[in-house]
Each structure stands twice: as structure tokens, then as C-alpha cells.
Amino acid sequence: MPIVLLILAAVGAISVGSSQINGFWSVLFNPGSNEIVWQIRFPRVMAALIVGAALGIAGLMAQGACNNALAEPAILGTAAGASFGAVIGIATGLVQVGSLGALAWGTAGALLATSITFRLAALRGALSSFNLIIVGIAVSAIFTSLVGITSAVLNRADARSISFWSLGSLALVTNENLVGIIFTTLAGGVIAWSIAPKLDRLSLGDQSAFHLGVNVPRVRFLALISLSLLAGGAVSTVGVIAFIGLAAPHIARFIYGPSHRGLTLHSALIGALIVLVADTLSRTIAQPNELAIGLATALIGAPILIALVTVKNNVWRTQ
């Protein structure tokens, strides 16, 4: 059912835009037959689906590894680290905005920032989810400041493109850009799928998970790698898109239950659906202008999350 909904939404998203497409169905079944559809809308819709899926699973990894409902890539410093990595790559002239190189730098930055968060949170012994969240917010703030400072010293053209990208936009995505993010999303998704049963056990606490045979530090490390690949790839390609990492896993959990293996798929589907609908709205609602996608993702995701928390708040113990 969600997959059918996603396909219908994707076809609908490709069909709408500032230009009317004559013979849409014929164009749709003939790849390359129409430049607007196949060079502009198709990569954009594909990017929305992949980025949404990546951020949905990234949020799941963050919440599962920290055993905390508030964890997400933005909270743990992952998103800010990815921005920092990509901006440093661009600032040094080694890579361009949206390139595969920027994706590699972004993923490395995400890994660096998330590792710092986990390492600092564990400095005084056992890794507590409270420490992770507090340290993550601080690390995120530091990397966000570094992105701002680096952008300020760049030349004007680079700064403008970085500014546009950092607000979150799928407008510049090309078919070539998709290759890298497909790779990071698949790699991160496979790791997430493989450690999912262990994250179920980790929800009982580190000590009980260990008693059940889970190598807790190893599972956390793999979750960190998965999170960095997923969020790093997404952020370095389309900028920071807020809220998906937090909302998609929670919405999926409310509908499908807490098992992480099922949630890996469902968080991806729900993340993809929200980003796709949000991007379609952001480019059509105020034509010819385009809204920042983060405005639309929050407007769509937040009411759903509030409604589910209000009606069915029994999947995550809050007290």
C-alpha cells in the first residue's frame, strides 16, 4: 500500500510544474523524449524519494542507537558535520556544490561530527542517551558556526551557491548527482537492515542487550556509520532538510510498531513520501517562486506527528 501510494505520488509530482507537458503518459513511457520531464523533473523527483528515504532511515538509526525518542541527525551533529565537510571541500576548491566529491566530503564530515559526539558523550564511562543528546546539540552548534564562518570568507559566487544549497533545495539535482546518493543510501540502508534486530534488543538498555548477546559498542559503531552515510549523502547533495529524520521514524512506529527491521523499510517509505509531497508543493504553490523545502516538510510532517502522538501515544515510554 505505501509503495503504491509512493508510485502514484511520484507520477503526480512529475506531471505538475510551471510548464504543461503535452502527451504526458506517452512521454512517461519514453525515457529521454521530453527534456523537462527527463532532465529536470525526473531527477528531482528521484532525489526527493532517495533523500527522504535516507533521512527517514538515518533518524531511525539515531533513535535506535541512542535509545532516545529525540535523537535525529540534526540533534547528534551529523547534519551540521555533513554541511561542514561539504563546505570545506568547496571552500578549498577541491569539489563543487552537488558533485560526487562534495558528497564524499559531506559524508566524511558527518562521520567526523557524529564520532566526536559519541566519543565525548562516553568520556566519563557508560554512554548515556542524555549525554548523547546534550553533547550532540553542542557539537551541532559548533559545526553550524564553522559552516557560517567558512561561508563568510568564501568568494561571492561560491557563498551564494552554498547559501542556496544549505537552505535545502532539490532544484539543482541532475541525473548525474543521483549516482552518489543512491550508493550512500543503499550502503547505509543495508547496514541499518542488518543491525535492526540488535537495535530491538538495545531498546532494553545496554546491560540487558549485552546479556542477550549484543556487542553494544559494535552495534552503535555500525549505526553511526549507517547514519553518517545516509545523512551525509543526503545533506551534501540537497542541503539540510529539517524534521524528516525526527518525524518519519516516529510516524512509521505509530503505524507499524517498534520492530526495527520493519521500521527500516517503513521509515524510508514515509520519509520519501513526505519529502516528495513537500518538494512538489514548494515548487508549485507559489509559482514562479520556489519555497525552501524545509518549510513544507515541517508543515506536512508536524501535524501528522502531533495527531499520532495525541491519538496513539503508546509506542515509546515517555515517563
Binding site: 532494553l204 546491560q207 546479556h211 548477546g213 556487542n215 503508546n314 515510554r317
Partner: protein, 196 residues
């Protein structure tokens, strides 16, 4: 058999356990009894391999828990911690199935009525019984239970003690922590009161 050989455990600069030795026989129920803060749970966690003693050695049938991988150790010993917290809304059955086969232990501990309930909605006593059931479902030769009788009504206490006796008769080595307020310990094969 569990062998505790001259162990010392220091926590926050305080000697919790000092130069303590003990042998816990296989196929029996051993009860560790004492007041709050005397180090009962610390001793059980050390036996479970949660950490290494500062001095001395603990072995389970010649196997060193701290030198054994978590996966291999989970086939040797199971443990139910005190005050098990459940953050995600799995059902009781799903929680038990994380450790092994659930049907038999659900019946043995009379958890049938709550088997499909979410663990986030359980009372303290129910949650503790689910933790015990999960440890039993792990089906290991050694079973470590931290205050399994706390917060249980008379009926549940009787069921738990009866099940532990049956498991010991099957050959399992069972170590149970009880609070010093527990007066009736005739069901234990061995009682440890002093381990400082």
C-alpha cells in the same frame, strides 16, 4: 559450577567487595541475601560478565565471562536485571521471543493474559515477570536473577519459586538475589549472607 576466586570490586573509590571467594554448585539454587547497597547486584553483574573485578577471577565452568564474546556468553548465562525498563512498545511475547521460544515460559509464569499487551503499559511486578520470562527463554545453563521476588504478589512468588526449583532439577545453575527482608528461604539450596 561458578567459581569466585578472591575477587575485590571497587566502585567510586569504595571497596564494595573485598577478597571474596565462593563456589556456586551446578544444578542448584543459590540465594544471595543482604540489605540495600551491600553489593549483591554488583556481585551478580560481575558473574554475568558485565565488568571485570578489580582483583581476582570469576569463572563459569572454566570459562572466563569477561574474556568471552557477548554472543557466546549469551549461550552460557542469562540474567534478569532489577527494574527492567522498556522504552519501546513491543508486546510481552515479542520481548520474550528476543531471547528464545516464548510459549512454554508464558504458560509457566501465567503470562498468557498479558502476552499481547505492550510492555510500556505493564505494572512494575508484571514487567519484572516479563524480564524473568525472557531470561528463562534464553535457555542457558546458568540463570542469574536480580530480586525476582520484589513487587510480586503471593501467587506470583509461589509460581516463580516453583519454576526455579524445576529448572534446578533439570540441571540449571541458578543464582537469585533477594532482599534481607525475605525471611522464607527454604526453597534455596545454598544461602550466601556475607561476601565482604
Amino acid at each position: 559450577m561458578i567459581t569466585i576466586d578472591e575477587i575485590t570490586i571497587v566502585r567510586d573509590g569504595r571497596e564494595i567487595i573485598y577478597d571474596y571467594s565462593e563456589q556456586i554448585p551446578a544444578g542448584s539454587i543459590t540465594v544471595i541475601v543482604g540489605p540495600n547497597g551491600c553489593g549483591k547486584s554488583t556481585l551478580l553483574a560481575a558473574i554475568a560478565g558485565d565488568f571485570a573485578p578489580d582483583k581476582g577471577v570469576i569463572t563459569i565452568d572454566d570459562l572466563h565471562p569477561i574474556l568471552t564474546s557477548p554472543q557466546e556468553l549469551s549461550r552460557i548465562r542469562a540474567m534478569a536485571v532489577q527494574n527492567q525498563s522498556f522504552t519501546l512498545g513491543f508486546t510481552v511475547r515479542q520481548i520474550i521471543e528476543m531471547a528464545g521460544e516464548a510459549d512454554q515460559v508464558i504458560e509457566q509464569l501465567a503470562l498468557g493474559e498479558i502476552a499481547d499487551r505492550l510492555v510500556t503499559t505493564l505494572s512494575g511486578g508484571e514487567a519484572q515477570r516479563v524480564a524473568i520470562a525472557q531470561a528463562i527463554a534464553q535457555n542457558t545453563p546458568v540463570l542469574l536473577l536480580d530480586e525476582p521476588l520484589a513487587a510480586q504478589d503471593v501467587y506470583s512468588r509461589g509460581r516463580i519459586i516453583q519454576l526455579l526449583k524445576e529448572l534446578a532439577e533439570e540441571g540449571k545453575t541458578i543464582v537469585v538475589i533477594v532482599h534481607s527482608s525475605e525471611s522464607e528461604l527454604s526453597w534455596a539450596d545454598k544461602v550466601i549472607k556475607q561476601f565482604h
